[in-house]
């Protein structure tokens, strides 16, 4: 043996340690992979040795390799070995390796439960610390469930070092095992007032994180946090508390009003930027949640905006960025206060940091008005030209479109200008956002009727110059706009000046290089144009032009018939055949124009995105019913499922079908007609809905001098600028006219009143260039109200949405919660005293559910022989204890009472009463609340780890007496069952083999309780105290009868 140790240490001398490994890797830069693979082989050898020092060294090296990206999951078991070393040096390495390498899928984690439990209860605080730290990284739902009680106990550890870690890790435990939140919460709350600032800050951290996800359950803590906020000087804690209030105020506006003052004080006084920033953010959140229009709060907004301006003007890029970010939050509710800083925001667009420019862009989105839209967009267009990186340029492009199209084009007064902007944007090379521009073009052309003439002309120019857009690169995203252009030209072809030319442009051979879906649109719309051309020449006998058009199509379409894209091919061959047929008719001098136009008759209306979903199902329509009789062959197959699900009646639909009579059919026909009438997708056949060719409003568009034949690259001033100038002129003119009118009026009034008319133009004064009616999106009749967005069901925090205040019993005024805690420590009482007298601490949470103030609460319990309430010395055996606090409305607080208990083998129910005074404005009344305190046997059990060999010995010893229990009607997975027993009855799993598991627990008096749980849901139990066992089993039974 001694030889072995010596040999081991000699081996170690030749082993590489971590430093050697790192040095080696650095020296083998050219063949790193090869070097590392030899190292891994060495490590594998080292792991096979018995010497724990060698193993730890190997594991340490593996942790390093893991960081470099090598898979070390094969060594998971060795990591567990090192973790369980009794020496802190190695344990530390083992836990580090585990925290770096383990994740939820690592199967050896389940082997660690007992080891971790042992380390948690180690007398050495650093063992405990290292276990807690490790656990925080790799805690799984199983570990969380098994160890929740142990960690909860550690929250009251004597050393703040452990308390603080235990409190923090509870958050991870709650996430993994939400059921632990309720029992742990009272203790967590208590830690908010821990004497150690580190523990206190940890508790604040955890509760803030919890409350941010589910704020409503934590409203009752607001007074406590308010006190902390006004007393604490620790910025870390303050930031957390202020963040918490930010989450609470939307639920309780009264809180907001109270917060404004201390927060503004902090804003004025603090020198820490992080705290200032948090305060500003929360003030903004508070003001958003408060109803607006409170005059005294404009001062706070002003203060925030001022402070943010200082941040934005700071030379520190970080502060600038955050300032803009916070500004955008204010913008949503108080746009006016931000808009006055437009200069500053526009200045940020010139910043050298792209992320700051992007933030400024976000702000601009909310700052536009009818008045300044054109100006802002002009500035952005300049930036588009200057931008170097395509990402930033693309971002600018989307922002321009966002800004213009926001709230249904609210700020656009001149759509010709907007179309020109869109056309200008198509000149960007290599942008990814072609489809965005395209959808805008379509949107505007469809929804703004008056603009169609202009849009069609612009699109025709685009199609004519398509070669400029497509360029050489096939994958150019911008060619998407051709999709829109072709569709607009086709659909609204009646506005085209020269449809023939556009038709020719759409059938150029180059088109065949475009992506398939665009070609398909080209082909389809070529047919529409064809119809338009025919209509134009309608009535002219032997029209040369009409026949030429047919010939053009017949010449060019075969190119598309050969297309590899099915859609293009199908459409092209259809249309080709059609045109050939028409040509034949034309040669016979048959009038065809009307029939051809009928192909594309009917107007397309914009439909709301949700319209289809909202179509109500007409009465009497069963979507699941068979339309035809089900095929006879399936009937025999129907028999089989019928045997399995006896309740089903497959003949149901058939019988209904045969019953249909003539009357019913007529009724159905009527219903269908009605449905079609309200269905926007159904193209109506009635002649009244034929395409209307005289588009109203077209002639009302003021004719602006634009040469439509301008090539896309306009030398000198871009087109949209012309609009800007024109618009300004127009506004000036309108203003002048208004002035004239006013002057007239004034003259009429003979200067009775002198009105200042030179003030700035207000938003309402700007009238749109032409009355554009934005067609609103169609919704079906009887559409249901909009459905709300649901919370993300996958959110892990959702499970933590536990109403912590809900508990029985409760009366009108007071909700009464009791949670039994065995706070008695094993080493303090048990080992010292042989007298069977144990102290049990009961925490009681009082919550005031009424609107009145509760005071003078007195707590009393009728003692039994076994259990007695501990009263101060000198007090009588029946005196009540005063609860050391008063309860304002809606507040809850916790008090603790100590009981002495003699025997723990029986459950106890103690009757008690609580008397208190309800104080309302005018009167105060005495009230009484009766309650029962239930001391279960389970609450005397303490989760204690036990190893399987010790467990076997215990069972063999024969000191234990057996008993068994069957649980009926349990259908939950086995591991859930075990989890419940562990959690509710403080057991730990010793071993689990296939269909059964052995479990162990120990009472505070040292009784061993052993369970053997089988998947058949029977429990065999053994204990050295039969009555205790019986009662525990009863309680287990009760737990499961509740579910």
């Amino acid at each position: 043996m001694a030889l072995k140790i010596v040999k081991g240490s000699i081996d170690r001398m030749f082993d590489k340690n971590l430093q050697d490994l790192v040095r080696g890797i650095r020296n083998h830069k050219e063949d790193e992979a090869k070097y590392i693979s030899t190292c891994i082989d060495e490590i594998k050898q080292e792991l096979k040795q018995d010497n724990i020092a060698v193993k730890a060294n190997a594991v340490c090296k593996l942790t390093y390799l893991q960081m470099l990206g090598y898979d070390v999951s094969w060594a998971a078991f060795n990591i567990v070995e090192v973790m369980s070393s009794s020496k802190f040096t190695y344990k530390r390495i083992g836990y580090l390796a585990a925290s770096q390498c383990f994740h939820e899928g690592t199967d050896v984690i389940m082997l660690t439960t007992n080891q971790i439990r042992k380390d948690l209860s180690s007398p050495n605080q650093y063992d405990t610390g290292v276990a807690l730290t490790g656990l925080s990284c790799f805690v799984t739902p199983d570990l969380a469930r098994d160890l929740a009680n142990d960690i909860m106990t550690l929250m009251s550890h004597t050393k703040p070092y452990i308390r603080k870690k235990a409190v923090l890790i509870m958050y991870k435990v709650f996430l993994k095992y939400p059921e632990s939140l309720r029992p742990a919460f009272p203790r967590l709350k208590e830690k908010l007032e821990d004497p150690d600032p580190g523990v206190q800050s940890a508790a604040v951290n955890v509760i803030c994180e919890l409350a941010r996800r589910n704020p409503k359950n934590y409203l009752s803590l607001a007074p406590l946090f308010f006190k902390l906020m006004t007393s604490s000087t620790n910025n870390w804690v303050l930031i957390k508390i202020i963040k918490l209030f930010g989450a609470l105020t939307p639920l309780e506006p009264r809180l907001g009003k109270k917060l404004i003052e201390p927060l503004t004080n902090l804003i004025h006084s603090t020198s820490a930027m992080s705290l200032l920033y948090e305060c500003v953010n929360t003030v903004i959140a508070v003001l958003i949640s408060l109803s607006s229009g409170m005059p005294n709060h404009s001062a706070s907004i002003q203060l925030c905006v001022q402070k943010l301006r200082i941040l934005i003007e700071d030379s520190d890029q970080n502060l600038k960025y955050l300032g803009l970010l916070a500004m955008s939050k204010i913008l949503k509710t108080h746009p006016k206060s931000v808009q006055s800083h437009k200069d500053l925001i526009l200045q940020c667009l010139d910043d050298k940091d792209e992320s700051i420019r992007l933030r400024a862009l976000d702000l601009l989105y909310g700052m536009v008005s009818k008045k300044n839209l054109m100006e802002i967009v002009k500035k952005l267009m300049l930036h588009v030209d200057k931008a170097e990186g395509t990402t930033y340029r693309d971002e600018l492009l989307t922002k321009i479109i966002d800004i213009c199209s926001q709230s249904n084009f609210q700020y656009i007064t001149n759509f010709e200008w907007y179309i020109s902007i869109l056309v200008e944007l198509t000149r960007l090379e290599g942008t990814r956002h072609g489809h965005l521009i395209a959808s805008q073009m379509l949107d505007v052309a469809i929804r703004v009727k008056a603009i169609r003439g202009f849009a069609v002309a612009q699109m025709a120019t685009l199609l004519d110059n398509a070669h400029l857009l497509t360029g050489n690169t096939q994958r150019n995203g911008i060619c998407e706009v051709l999709y829109a252009a072709a569709w607009i030209c086709g659909e609204f072809s009646e506005h085209l000046e020269d449809p023939m030319q556009t038709l020719e442009a759409m059938l150029r051979p180059k088109v065949a290089t475009l992506p398939g879906h665009i070609q398909a649109v080209y082909v389809q719309n070529a047919a529409k144009l064809f119809a338009t051309v025919l209509r134009k020449h309608d009535g002219e006998t032997e029209s040369q032009a009409a026949q030429e058009t047919s010939q053009l199509l017949i010449d060019r379409l075969p190119l598309f018939v050969q297309s590899a894209n099915l859609e293009v091919q199908e459409r092209a061959s259809c249309i080709l055949q059609l045109v050939k047929y028409i040509q034949k008719l034309q040669q016979k001098n048959v009038e065809v124009a009307e029939e051809v136009t009928a192909l594309f008759a009917g107007e397309l209306n914009p439909v709301a995105p949700k319209a289809q979903k909202k179509v109500p199902i007409p009465e009497g329509l069963d979507l699941d019913a068979w339309i035809n009789e089900p095929p006879s062959g399936s009937e025999s197959e129907d028999e089989k499922p019928k045997a399995v699900f006896a309740k089903e009646e497959p003949k149901h639909s058939r019988s209904r079908h045969t019953e249909v009579d003539e009357k019913e059919l007529a009724r159905r026909r009527e219903v269908r007609k009605q449905e079609q009438a309200s269905n926007p997708f159904y193209i109506k056949a009635s002649p009244s809905s034929q395409k209307v060719y005289d588009a109203p409003g077209v002639e009302h568009i003021p004719v602006v001098q634009i040469d439509l034949s301008v090539p896309l690259k306009v030398p000198g001033m871009p087109m949209s600028d012309q609009y800007l100038k024109l618009e300004e002129e127009r506004r000036q003119k309108e203003k002048a006219e208004r002035k004239k009118k006013e002057k007239k009026k004034k003259r009429e009034k003979r200067g009775k009143e002198r009105k200042a008319d030179s003030g700035p133009e207000s938003e309402e004064d700007i009238t749109p260039a032409h009355q554009v009616d934005i067609v609103t999106e169609e919704m079906p009749e009887n559409a249901l109200p909009s459905d709300d967005d649901d919370k993300d069901p996958n959110d892990p925090h959702k499970a933590l949405d536990i109403d912590l205040d809900k508990y029985v019993p409760h009366c009108r005024h007071l909700q009464f919660i009791h949670v039994l805690h065995i706070v008695m420590c094993r080493n303090e009482f048990f080992s010292k005293t042989e007298i069977y007298d144990f102290k049990v601490v009961v925490s009681v949470i009082f919550e005031n559910k009424s609107d009145s103030f509760l005071k003078a609460m007195e707590f009393n319990v009728l003692d039994s022989l076994n259990s007695k309430l501990q009263r101060p010395e000198g007090a009588g055996a029946h005196d009540s204890l005063t609860v050391p606090f008063q309860l304002p409305p809606g507040v809850s607080n916790e008090a603790r009472f100590v009981f002495s208990v003699q025997s723990i083998v029986m459950p106890q129910k103690l009757k008690g009463t609580l008397t208190f005074i309800v104080k309302s404005d005018e009167s105060s009344t005495h009230e009484k609340l009766d309650f029962k305190l239930h001391f279960t046997c389970t609450s005397y059990l303490i989760t204690t780890p036990c190893y399987s060999d010790a467990y076997a010995k215990l069972l063999e010893s024969g000191d234990l007496k057996g008993s068994s229990l069957r649980l009926e009607g349990i259908n939950m997975p086995f591991h859930h069952l075990l989890a419940r027993i562990c959690f509710h009855h403080h057991f730990s799993v010793v071993e689990r083999i296939d269909s059964c598991a052995s479990m162990y627990s120990r009472s505070i008096q040292g009784h061993h309780v052993c369970l053997l749980v089988k998947t058949t849901v029977s429990i065999d139990a053994k204990c050295d105290e039969p009555s205790l066992l019986g009662n525990v089993l009863d309680e287990i039974k009760q737990t499961f009868s509740k579910c």
Binding site: T133, G198, Y321
Partner: protein, 160 residues
């Protein structure tokens, strides 16, 4: 905080700490993506960026980048403070720390981080307490770490 990464100017990972459970594959992917994004940023740019649904806060000290991922509602400035605090701790522990210290004593760097942050939250805001805890834990250890390496590298941090 969701995770913290330390990497060099060359994109070599020096330390990683994950406070959310992710598979190795995902971790690698995220690391690669973030190292690239952060290294591509120009020196004058601000320390924050939005990435997926998280916020990334990073800061460069000499040749090392310290990079943290925080959630939407978290405070960026306090995260910068955390990074700075950690660098100060490393500096105090190693004595004008440089990148090589972290490479060769990477387990120590983790131990210090673990005393400072737990589960992604700051557990101890007093520098003195963190160092005290580390020193006492080191005392329990059998072997003290070897003497600091010859400092050929630039210290991360000059003034404390």
């Amino acid at each position: 905080m969701q995770f913290m990464l330390l990497f060099s100017r060359q994109g070599k990972l020096r330390l990683q700490k994950w406070y959310v459970p992710l598979s190795d594959k995902e971790k690698k992917k995220i690391t690669r993506e973030l190292v690239q994004t952060v290294l591509a940023r120009k020196p004058k740019m601000c320390s924050f960026l939005e990435w997926r649904d998280l916020k990334i806060v990073y800061k460069r000290y000499a040749s090392l980048y310290f990079c943290c991922a925080i959630e939407d509602q978290d405070n960026e400035l306090i995260t910068l403070e955390i990074i700075h605090r950690y660098v100060e701790l490393l500096d105090k522990y190693f004595g004008s720390v440089c990148e090589l210290d972290i490479i060769f004593n990477f387990e120590k760097a983790y131990f210090i981080l673990d005393e400072f942050l737990l589960g992604g939250e700051a557990q101890e805001t007093s520098k003195k307490n963190v160092l005290k805890a580390i020193e006492q834990a080191d005392l329990l250890q059998e072997v003290r770490p070897g003497p600091a390496l010859a400092k050929q590298n630039v210290p991360l941090f000059v003034t404390v």
